[in-house]
């Protein structure tokens, strides 16, 4: 199954739920989790938010696991570094290699960081998986986030899908001609892909500029307020 976060955000039980409340809940739970820095609370918030995501928003558990697994590689690497290279205090385990040791402090550090991230992930997931980006950006707009940030987000949001599509097509075209058959060809193909995608992006950005100008773009994206539904 392909993991399409955007599709999930548009098609779940909480998509139409007031985005301000969702944003508020996310920020509050994030802040509280970070400030409290308490292992029990981390577990509790993880369980509560996961339950909300799975049962109230009714998001498929496979998609949710996929979402959780995405940052896992970073998290594990970070925690390993913390475990072996940071912290002071009593040595509790000696690796015997170049004097690398695990100390009480580093273990504490590692566990707390891991749990804190695990607590925060579902909080972010709650927003990211249930709210279409357009709505998040609108909220931020009314909350007086600088316009330039929102405009960049807005333009990026749509172009990123075109970009990904383009990469996908090109990669398939390369694979068809055995571009990823061996290590050396893989490196070559990937290099060619990267440079082509860069040139093509420049090209696309020019066309997008023309299209925007054609409709009277003045350097600022106007904000549309949809009709209130009766």
């Amino acid at each position: 199954m392909k993991f399409d976060m955007d599709y999930i955000a548009h098609h779940n039980e909480l998509s139409e739920f007031n985005p301000y409340i969702k944003l508020f809940i996310t920020i509050i739970t994030l802040v509280v989790t970070l400030v409290l820095d308490n292992l029990y609370f981390d577990v509790i918030i993880f369980v509560i938010m996961s339950v909300v995501i799975l049962t109230i928003a009714k998001i498929n558990y496979k998609s949710y696991l996929k979402f959780l697994s995405l940052p896992m590689a970073f998290l594990v690497i970070t925690c390993l570094f913390l475990l072996f290279f940071f912290g002071k205090g009593q040595v509790i385990y000696e690796t015997g290699l170049w004097g690398i040791v695990v100390t009480e402090g580093s273990l504490h550090y590692c566990v707390y960081t891991f749990m804190r991230v695990m607590g925060c992930l579902p909080c972010l997931g709650f927003l990211a998986l249930t709210t279409p980006i357009a709505k998040v950006l609108h909220c931020l707009g009314t909350l007086k986030v600088p316009k330039i940030v929102i405009e960049i987000g807005l333009l990026m949001y749509n172009t990123i899908f075109i970009f990904l599509n383009e990469i996908d097509t090109m990669q398939k075209a390369q694979e068809t001609r055995l571009g990823y058959h061996s290590y050396t060809t893989s490196f070559k193909s990937l290099g060619a892909l990267a440079s082509t995608i860069f040139l093509r992006s420049l090209d696309k950005s020019e066309t997008l500029q023309f299209a925007l100008d054609s409709r009277g773009y003045s350097g600022e994206l106007p904000v549309y307020e949809p009709k209130k539904e009766d």
């Binding site: 807005l154 749509n158 925007l212 409709r215 009277g216 549309y224 307020e225 949809p226």
Partner: protein, 277 residues
């Protein structure tokens, strides 16, 4: 209403894309601009609302010369709307309604007016109900419709479409030509670039043929498709129906110089020939 005079444009010193193009389009016309890939069709189109500034020559709209300052550009871009070949290049907003609203908002209209225009434009192209949809969840044909709605919402007098049928399925092509015919009946002048000749006689009342940055022919579809030398130079063919009748003539049927261009004309002609024998 739209006049282009001796337009020249070069991308760089080695390559002149337009070598002095002059043409005139009247109000209410439905014009087809024919030419092979790289003939300069898109380049010409980008001159019509001032995206490109020509090296030489002028563009006139409603008898007024196109100027390149900010205020006149806004005015001319409202009058002349361009629908780009690839809707992905044009649609940028996260939802359909926001994209359609983009043009009217730039014109400085009130929010209620913009809302009305968005509803109207989406209804016009048959995309009501997709207001909140993300564009990348739409099919190619639907994206094209949204792109057209985005231009319609600006209430242009002239609508320019760069190869609008490219990438559409057969039903999509038929639906699109029906829509364009309706818009034309409602008074919008339409200019279409294409190299699919079969449909041209169905909608166009005027045809221009562009080859290597030069205009080599203009006239009604009937006139253009009866000049093999022009078609050959432009790498084009006659519509498939016309081809059939030209081959029938070689078999000994006298067509009296009148070759049908569309299915309807062909039907009439067949019935006539059958009744005669």
């Amino acid at each position: 209403m739209l006049e282009v005079k001796n337009l020249k444009y070069s991308y760089n010193s080695n390559y002149q894309a337009l070598k002095g193009v002059s043409l005139k389009v009247d109000r209410g016309d439905m014009v087809a601009l024919l030419g092979k890939n790289g003939a300069g069709k898109s380049t010409l189109f980008l001159h019509l609302n001032g995206i490109y500034e020509p090296d030489e020559g002028q563009v006139f709209i409603d008898g007024e010369e196109l100027k390149y300052d900010k205020k006149s550009l806004l005015k001319f871009r409202q009058k002349v709307g361009i629908v780009f070949q690839n809707p992905d290049d044009q649609i940028f907003a996260p939802t359909v309604e926001e994209d359609v609203a983009f043009g009217p908002l730039n014109l400085g209209l009130s929010m209620e007016e913009v809302q009305d225009r968005v509803t109207e434009a989406l209804e016009r192209v048959g995309m009501s109900g997709f207001e909140k949809t993300a564009p990348h969840h739409l099919s190619g044909g639907q994206k094209k419709r949204v792109a057209i709605a985005g231009i319609l919402a600006m209430k242009p007098e002239i609508m320019v479409l760069d190869e609008p049928t490219a990438g559409l399925d057969p039903q999509g092509v038929v639906d699109l030509s029906v829509l364009l015919n309706e818009l034309n009946d409602e008074g919008i002048t339409i200019i279409i670039s294409t190299h699919e000749v079969d449909l041209v006689p169905n909608y166009a009342n005027k045809v221009f043929v562009l080859v290597d940055g030069k205009l080599i022919g203009e006239g009604t579809p009937k006139e253009i498709f009866s000049k093999p030398e022009i078609l050959e130079e432009a790498n084009l063919k006659v519509p498939i129906v016309t081809d059939l009748f030209q081959q029938l003539e070689n078999e000994g049927f006298d067509m009296q110089g009148d070759y049908p261009l569309t299915i309807d004309e062909a039907k009439e002609k067949f019935l006539k020939l059958l009744n005669k024998n």
